[in-house]
Homo-oligomer: 343 residues x 2
DNA sequence: GGGCGTTTCCAAAGCGCTTTGGATAAATGA
DNA sequence: TCATTTATCCAAAGCGCTTTGGAAACGCCC
């Protein structure tokens, strides 16, 4: 049913219906109620295509899935981040449009999305160190918010990030306080900005106690379970194995735990593990007592904040970029204990 | 830039440009090339809102995130399924619109999506046993494809599913052949259709060997790591503990493994584990040799197939519903071995 | 009854595209 | 050379809504 038909059916003019449904003040409460009720009864909703053509706004937020090498890993935080963001979108009348980057590159995908007038704003996920997308989007002049930050980008832009440096500094401090001196770092891919910052926090903490960071104890890769397993196995087989592991994700931490168990060691006693925990809904870190001591920050909550900031920015195009720095909490679980005394 | 401006800039009529860009035969190859090249050079893409208003098609496929209790779990397969589907969408000129079900319910969300003419087709994920969404969508007359099936729904509809019954039957057979007789089943939530089918396969296999399914060995819940851990701990503490576990997801299997290790038992020797593996990109089941013996089926591939079927259905609205039943493969890993002899 | 503010209606333009019918121009064949 | 095909152009309608200007209806007050 379109507006014309609906108008005839309920005997109210198209103008008044449109005004009633869009909250204009010059329509009486009685008529507004009548229209709203009739719309539900007759299942009338304005055609969004026509509406967005007329208003110039699509009420759609674009998310772009990174370029598509067949076997590229899907970021495990993707689902929870989206769930958080979509919570906000629904409340504020938006939907989410997901586009996959074409082979021509992500920048081209953004350009297209905007040239086609498909979305009102864009969310950028997983920024790398000197992420080119930020310059492209700034240039295109569309509202956007980055989940994470990009070092070395000097134009101002809106972002929401966890204080990764600080949280890994605290985690390292925590392990040092427990007497650990050989602490391995199983980091994410260091092309990612967050991984850089985490390493900085780790090195900073060690440096403050006069301990030189040992590159032999540092690893960097995509954060799979097997990565945690194999690197831990290799590290534990060294002459002077680490007594503690600082890990970038709960999934990887599972692999670390597997390798530790397999070596006949007890986690939290022989070897300590601290991991970052994105608080994914399908991957809770234990129930009442956490399995792993962790730096925890909800990625779902981050999604919610990013979405709110973006919609605000769409409403006020000339406002200066906003930034939000979230602090991760350090939760103590069963995976950490005092460093073992040397036999 | 809009069509009018673009037309003036390159000195070709709007009609011809439109025809060239949409592949109509009455435009010469030379002009078509000229238009396409100029479009790239001047960064012109037709406004999708206007285009879809004119054509009546949005080139958008709707996915709906289930109703939003604040802490509801995000399905971990969500990301990979979307990645698979979006691969197809991109190839065939579609994008994905994700909407979250409102508190008024998912049916209402579908109705809205269609009344608003926002999408050309819909993907239904995670069907429950007698899923009401299928009747709603059939009624609304929009093309849709279900990932999974819904028992007890008798109208024909298009679906793509793994043969869950068969794969859990095979897995149980496999454990029985190894001499196991007390096999625990850590199933997913049995409101979900797939969980029902898996239990049927399990019971069928036991039945064929004259073994009665023991409800004391069967569990059903959301497939988290902690669920696997706590249930396994409880089961192993029983008087006659199971010697094998059949598990619904790799994440849960991690919890199972943790409880087994904690009990001082060796997986694959003292206790065997078989799990279903959705082949998620961020959760590989080991590298060359699988960690867990598993029934494996790629959810990403399923996403690709679902998307292709849906787009086909949009192009041929009166074609009969199609169905695809995928067989899971049984891969043997390090988590299974002969049943231990009784001390 | 006149005047006034409020509410509703009517008609039409505009959003940017597709699609159609008919005109025009250019290339081709007899 | 004229008729015929082929390629392009022009003008306009239509997709379904919003938005505007101006007119009409309504209730209310003095």
């Amino acid at each position: 049913m379109n507006l014309k038909e609906f108008s005839q059916k309920i005997g109210i003019s198209q103008t008044t219906i449109s005004r009633a449904l869009n909250g204009y003040p010059e329509v009486s409460d009685a008529t507004r109620r009548k229209v709203e009720e009739a719309a539900i009864r007759h299942n009338y909703s304005p055609n969004v295509r026509a509406k967005s053509l007329a208003t110039g706004r699509s009420m759609l937020i674009g998310h772009v899935i990174p370029a598509a090498n067949t076997h590229e890993m899907v970021n495990p935080i993707f689902g929870d981040f989206l769930a958080g963001a979509s919570h906000t979108y629904t409340q504020r009348g938006y939907d989410m449009l997901i586009s996959r980057a074409t082979d021509a590159g992500e920048a081209k995908t953004y350009r297209d999305l905007i040239a086609k007038a498909a979305v009102d704003g864009i969310v950028v996920q997983g920024p790398s160190v000197n992420d080119p997308r930020i310059a492209v989007l700034t240039d295109l002049g569309i509202p956007f918010v980055v989940h994470g930050r990009a070092s070395q980008v000097d134009v101002p832009y809106s972002w929401v990030d966890v204080n990764n440096r600080q949280s890994f500094k605290r985690a390292t401090d925590f392990l040092l306080d427990l007497g650990h001196r050989r602490i391995a770092l199983l980091n994410g891919l260091e092309t990612m900005d967050f991984a850089q910052r985490r390493r900085q926090g780790y090195e900073e903490s060690l440096g403050a106690r006069g301990i030189a960071a040992d590159t032999g104890l540092m690893r960097s890769a995509e954060m799979t379970e097997t990565y945690g397993y194999f690197e831990t196995r290799a590290l534990l087989a060294q002459d002077a194995p680490p007594t503690a592991f600082l890990v970038a994700s709960l999934i990887t931490a599972n692999g670390v735990a597997r390798a530790i168990a397999e070596a006949g060691l007890v986690i939290g006693k022989d070897v300590s593990v601290v991991t970052h925990d994105d608080d994914l809904s399908y991957l809770p870190n234990g129930s009442d007592i956490p399995v792993f001591t962790a730096t925890r920050s909800s990625v779902r909550e981050a999604g919610r904040i990013v979405a709110d900031m973006l919609i605000d920015a769409i409403g006020q195009p000339h406002k200066a970029p906003q930034t939000v720095l979230l602090e991760a909490e350090l939760v103590v679980g069963q995976s950490t204990g005092s460093a073992p005394h040397k036999g």
